[in-house]
């Protein structure tokens, strides 16, 4: 199912969306009434005026491009002829490898190499089709970070270096739009991308639910289903009722009832019941019934109605965690479980895919061994997942007038850039970590087909921009982490009053 060329839904899609909306009526008090009821002085203090929002959620998918995804190896690549006498010693490409994207400031790299560092697989990638397809939903903002330590830089990529009380972008989005969502913030990424922010004032539900095994994780979304020999649901509910009554009145409960741990536990027990009611153990379960390895039916379980379709879109989901994460991310949004989902490749080798290696060791950081091949390979991997995910989101109605993609921001977060030097004209070389880089944002909500900032071709270093006007500022190489952070939220239409964040209107479409 896809939207018509005019971006509107067909009659059948509109009817389906309306039926979904009707089915969700019982949740509407949670989604809107509760939101309004929850506007408190604390909310104002936190910077959330929910009445300023349109009452409909917006979604953030953070793609954690671990290891340092270099923007000059993708959409801001530099041709050798542009770099003059420095070209041979800088990370510039043969002119023919840097393709223009028609009607766009973006560029696209074509790379062909006989091997990937010491790994004997050929690398043959081309970013042009992706850039042409999505240019109108793409914005690249140049950046200068403040750390070249992986974990620290990763965390700063999602907090803007503590730009807003230390809360992560995902936590900010969960706070703004996550009311009534059972798991507003789900994080499947690694290292600093998976860390919690430092704003301890947020409701517990804003902090991420960590998922390390997306294929089997949905089994934990029900306390009883799929357990061989377990009693019926009615019996479990009777037992829970007895347990909870005794818990509250027990000596233990009265002694420690005021503790943070038990207060949280009681809330989480209640929240868990909401997960069970929605049958998420089924809806989010991508794995097929495949005895004897996966005997779902023998345990009273079944695959998601979307399972077969998603397994077709992400055929390596069994062996490639990134594909499994992407499939789960889609379902978390589709079923209104989460408003912020974080996915990304890890630093381990993943065996699989058409040439035997789905993920090289250290992901983008394989650039230490083979910069150009590693970047090309990993960019292709990231863009391939994004392409499939966006296609799914475009085809999924949000309501009668919008698709899920219309309300989704996709932020490709990364640690940092890479050093620019190379031995004379070397095509295979290693690079280190560099503060200078850029970020890719994709959404119908961003100012599309836009580069904020630019690249000095003589040095291949990215210079800055005015986050309010978008005007490029050659010679500006100061840290702008808060600008990027603010830009993501500004483009999404978040209420930033009281945040102290810089005006980043230039990001908004």
């Amino acid at each position: 199912m896809s939207l018509r060329s005019n971006g509107r839904l067909s009659r059948r899609q509109a009817l389906k969306a309306l039926s979904l909306a009707a089915a969700g009526t019982s949740l509407s008090p949670l989604l809107s009434g509760c939101r309004n009821a929850l506007v408190t002085e604390e909310d104002v203090e936190r910077g959330v005026r929910r009445d300023a929002l349109d009452g409909k959620p917006r979604f953030l998918i953070t793609i954690a491009a671990a290891g340092g995804a270099s923007i000059i190896d993708s959409f801001l690549a530099v041709r050798a002829s542009e770099a003059g006498s420095n070209a041979a010693r800088l990370n510039t490409f043969p002119d023919s490898a840097v393709q223009a994207v028609s009607g766009s400031p973006f560029r696209a790299v074509r790379y062909m190499g006989p091997r990937l560092g010491a790994i004997p697989i050929a690398v043959n990638t081309n970013q042009l089709a992706f850039a042409q397809k999505y240019r109108d939903d793409m914005l690249v903002a140049t950046s200068t970070g403040t750390s070249v330590n992986h974990v620290i830089a990763q965390k700063r990529a999602i907090t803007g270096n503590a730009a807003w009380k230390g809360r992560t972008l995902q936590e900010a989005v969960a706070l703004q739009w996550g009311q009534g969502f059972p798991l507003p913030n789900v994080n499947m990424a690694v290292g600093g991308f998976a860390e919690r922010g430092t704003d301890g004032s947020l409701p517990a539900s804003c902090y991420a639910e960590t998922v390390t095994g997306p294929s089997l994780w949905p089994l934990g979304l029900d306390g009883a289903k799929g357990i061989r020999g377990a009693p019926s649901r009615d019996v479990v509910e009777l037992a829970r009722r007895a347990r909870n009554e005794l818990d509250d009145g027990s000596v233990f409960g009265r002694t420690f009832g005021g503790s943070d741990a038990l207060t949280r536990w009681r809330t989480q027990r209640a929240d868990g019941a909401k997960l069970e009611v929605q049958d998420l153990i089924t809806k989010l379960n991508v794995i097929p019934d495949m005895p004897p390895q996966i005997p779902l039916s023998q345990y009273g379980l079944s695959s998601s109605p979307d399972g077969a379709r998603l397994r077709q879109v992400f055929p390596e989901f069994f062996t490639d965690p990134f594909e499994a994460q992407a499939a789960l991310a889609f379902l978390l949004l589709k079923h209104r479980v989460s408003v912020a989902v974080t996915i990304g490749p890890d630093f381990n080798v993943t065996v699989g895919g058409p040439n035997g290696i789905a993920n090289p060791p250290l992901a983008f950081d394989y650039s230490h061994n083979d910069h150009r091949g590693g970047q090309a390979y990993m960019w292709a991997r990231i863009l391939g997942i994004i392409d499939r995910l966006v296609t799914l989101l475009k085809a999924e109605p949000f309501d009668a007038t919008e698709s899920l993609w219309d309300r989704t921001m996709l932020y490709v977060a990364t640690d940092f850039g890479r050093t620019r030097g190379r031995p004379d004209n070397a095509m295979e070389f290693g690079t280190g970590h560099d503060l200078n880089n850029g970020f890719l944002l994709m959404s119908p909500m961003v100012k599309g087909n836009t580069v904020l900032g630019g690249v000095d071709a003589a040095t291949t270093m990215a210079y800055g921009f005015d986050p309010r006007t978008g005007q490029a500022q050659p010679g500006k190489f100061v840290s702008n982490e808060p600008d990027i952070y603010s830009g993501v939220l500004t483009a999404m239409g978040a209420d930033l009053s009281g945040s102290g964040l810089p005006d980043a209107s230039a990001f908004k479409g």
Binding site: L221, P231, V235, V236, R243, S250, T255
Partner: protein, 214 residues
């Protein structure tokens, strides 16, 4: 000599197959305090985490740790599938080197799964071989029902369970509530109310806050 041995064997054999299993010793039921429970000033509670939780459940119900809970019969609940939800770490995959330190939304559900799985196994084993029953022994049945929900055997079993899981005697409120649970199930349409009660009371004790926090 040989005759003595035969006699001993016959007595033992008779004991194994004919004598009804003795119920657990009666509990020394404690009176539930109505007031006077001091709230902890520090409230420094910790969730047990995957290893401690599973080992404690295994010890209490006399199961092997790997029998406590598996997903789809083959993937360890605590060690593999739900390790992080239970506060564990996963350094080699996603690089989670430190536990989160707080429980997650899914943690109570995962605890319920572990408790249900372990209890189902314990009850199955105890009902299958009453002579060697560990927890649910000496409970008279009437077909699939409990023969007497008001008898002394149920408090004895509740006491046994409480001692094993919570390392103390039960309070009177707990005994009466779990006996009430037996009556609720007896009055329900449940096909096997006796088994359901055993599973339910075991589940309630094993997944109680007192059991999973320390």
């Amino acid at each position: 000599m040989f005759r003595n041995a035969l006699m001993t064997l016959s007595v033992v054999t008779a004991g194994c197959f004919c004598a009804p299993p003795a119920p657990p010793p009666p509990p020394q039921v404690m009176e539930s305090p109505d007031a006077g429970v001091g709230a902890s000033a520090r409230g420094n509670l910790r969730f047990k985490g995957p290893e401690r939780l599973v080992n404690d459940v295994a010890a209490a119900l006399e199961l092997r740790a790997d029998q406590v809970c598996t997903e789809l019969g083959q993937y360890q609940c605590a060690g593999q599938v739900h390790n992080v939800a239970l506060g564990g770490v996963d350094p080699y995959g996603p690089g989670l080197y430190e536990p989160s330190g707080i429980t997650a939304v899914t943690t109570p559900l995962v605890v319920d799964r572990i408790a249900l799985s372990a209890c189902a196994r314990r009850v199955d084993a105890d009902l299958a071989t009453p002579q060697t029953a560990v927890v649910f022994r000496g409970v008279p049945l009437n077909g699939k029902k409990l023969a007497n929900a008001d008898g002394a055997e149920l408090p004895a079993v509740i006491g046994e369970l409480t001692r094993r899981v919570l390392l103390r005697e039960p309070y009177d409120r707990e005994v009466s509530r779990y006996v009430q649970l037996a009556k609720e199930l007896d009055a329900s349409t449940e096909a096997e109310p006796a088994r359901a009660w055993m599973q339910a009371v075991c589940f309630a004790v094993v997944s109680s806050t007192e059991s999973v926090f320390y």
